[in-house]
Amino acid sequence: MKSFKGIPKSVLTDMYTQMEKIRQFELKSVDLYQVGELPGFLHSCLGQEAAAVGVVAALKETDYIVTTHRGHGHVIAKGAELNRMMAELYAKEDGYCRGKGGSMHIMDRTKNILGANGIVGQGTTLATGAGLAAQLRGTDQVSVAFFGDGAQNEGFFHESMNMASIWNLPVIFACENNMYAESTCQTYHMRPDDIAERAKGYGVTSYIADGNDVIDVYLKACEAVKQCRNGDGPVLIESKTYRWLGHYVGDPGVYRPDGEVALWKSDEKEPMHQFREQMIKNEIFTKSELDKIQNDVADMIISAVEFGRNSKPLPPESALEDVYIEGLL
């Protein structure tokens, strides 16, 4: 069984498949959005695939994740079905949230995806709560909060870090530092260079990872998970990464200096390319193996789009359902 840095090929296969799914899903949904097929907002995570996959690959199915408005990557990596995701983006009946959530609120309870959240930073408290639940139950479950560099300035982050730290909650605070909080760059919105510094203030372990190197992220995430399962959590992981598109699809990103996007999209920095190069060079995968995965994913995406398009539209009165468990009050 081939392996790379101790990571079995099976895991690597999964990781690459997930990254391809994210990449292609994001590309496709951006296209659909720009031609007007999808209503609402879209916050694309193109360019951040490795940061997402690296952490989630270290988790078990029973572990929880909570993510943000830019959460397609995390939920796909955790096993969310592309079909149902696409149907949700299309606001159709077969969507995960039956049209009630949309892109920013994708949830799949069966995969312990406690949802994407539209309130920046609030996911940290929810994930902390999930970690508290695990602790009370006495399970070895881990809870991961994904958030960006902007979120970690919210009070939510600090309160939950503090509470998680005093209680040793099994919570991984997985920060994807893509250098921008909407239009405000990191060098403006905080003093330290690294978000990982924050952890010191709470007496919490931290890691800094190359967010575009899925292997690096994965290995560090595994460490964090081990620590949490041991009851020595929480842990803060900062993955340095970059988003290709603006804050939302349609944001021209005028706040970013010329050439920066191109730099991060270049082969040296771009996560998919890095991985493929590494795998091929180390003879873990052949090109055709990787291409096959890519093509298989392409088919999945096409089916997902079909599924989304053909899914039944929602009856408007369904707006009144699910307010309370017993119906409307």
């Binding site: 969507g95 995960y96 408290t125 139950r137």
Partner: protein, 324 residues
């Protein structure tokens, strides 16, 4: 039947539910022994259930409320205490954007069986930031249930119902009711949501109140008897869901409606009830609906000013008399 205090009734409800269901736990500030909560409601509980299940938090309303929601989403049944309803300002997001909406936004996939216990009201010169009454604000958020028990009996019965309810519940107590005594059975019982209680029957006017206003309304009703006015006093106790049937049948019987409300007049819950009366019992109204509410001001510190601001028996009495 034995009589216990409102505080003791709540304490019993928490203890009994925690014994009954291991998923129930408490989270909030200063809950554990020996302090036992800022209004001493949780005294004895950490001793019985341990400091994990009666979990003290740092002063972090946002964090603790959010954590309670997260824990509920992950399958537990947390009862989070927000010391003063005024502090819900700090964790407003967790309540209104998270707890209230996650079931809906997830298309019914994820439930949030959290109870936010808090207390409101004035009368001890606690001043503007510690004396407000905010039930209307939470009643305005679809997805939340809002209850306000006025008696020890209701406090215990409704808290049990709240804890067992799979929807998020705002359980609003009153700081001046904690010491009030009332009859509470020893046996197991619950009080359902959505049922108002007619505290006193009458035929001349429907007088509606919640929490501390219920006692004032009953006193006013007593005074009104001497004036030949037979008031029917209804204790709402459940705001969302609301017992419209009891309210409307009463109005149809009496033809007059007055609502005593400790909260500020403007956009208070009394406005909702007055509108319902107009919508559902218009042809039975013999006089305009009257609201006896706090003035549209913050609550002042000085006792004399506080008395001026907040409704009381005399104000309710005079207001009702004017309606005849």
């Amino acid at each position: 039947m034995r009589t216990i205090t409102y505080r003791e009734a709540i304490n019993e409800a928490l203890a009994e539910e925690m014994r009954r269901d291991p998923e129930v736990f408490l989270i909030g500030e200063d809950l554990a022994d020996p302090f036992g909560g800022s209004y001493k409601v949780t005294k004895g509980l950490s001793t019985e259930f341990g400091c994990d299940r009666v979990r003290n938090t740092p002063i972090s309303e946002a964090g603790l409320a959010g954590a309670a929601v997260g824990a509920a989403m992950a399958g537990m049944r947390p009862v989070a205490e927000i010391m003063y309803i005024d502090f819900t300002g700090c964790c407003f997001d967790a309540i209104v954007n998270q707890a209230a909406k996650i079931h809906y936004m997830s298309g019914g996939q994820v439930q949030v069986p959290v109870v936010f216990r808090t207390q409101q009201g004035s009368g001890r010169s606690s001043a503007a930031q510690h004396a407000q009454s905010w039930e209307a604000i939470f009643a305005h958020i679809p997805g939340l249930k809002v209850v306000m028990p006025a008696t020890p009996y209701d406090a215990k019965g409704m808290l049990k119902t709240a804890i067992r309810d799979n929807d998020p519940v705002m359980f609003i107590e009153h700081k001046l009711l904690y010491g009030v005594k009332g009859e509470v059975p020893e046996e197991e019982y619950t009080v359902p949501f959505g049922k108002a209680e007619v505290r006193k029957e009458g035929k001349d006017i429907t007088l509606i109140a919640s929490l501390r206003m219920v006692d004032f309304a009953l006193e006013a009703a007593d005074k009104l008897k001497a004036d030949g006015i037979d008031a029917e006093v209804i204790d709402l106790r459940s705001i969302v869901p609301l017992d419209k049937d009891t309210i409307i049948s009463s109005i149809k019987k009496t033809g007059r409606l007055a609502i005593a409300q400790e909260a500020v007049e403007r956009c208070g819950f009394a406005s909702e009830i007055a509108t319902l009366a107009m919508e559902l019992a218009f042809d039975y109204l013999d006089a305009p609906v009257k609201r006896i509410c706090a003035t549209n001001t913050p609550v002042a510190f000085a006792p004399a000013l506080e008395d001026f601001i907040i409704p009381n028996t005399e104000k309710i009495y005079s207001a009702v008399k004017e309606m005849f």
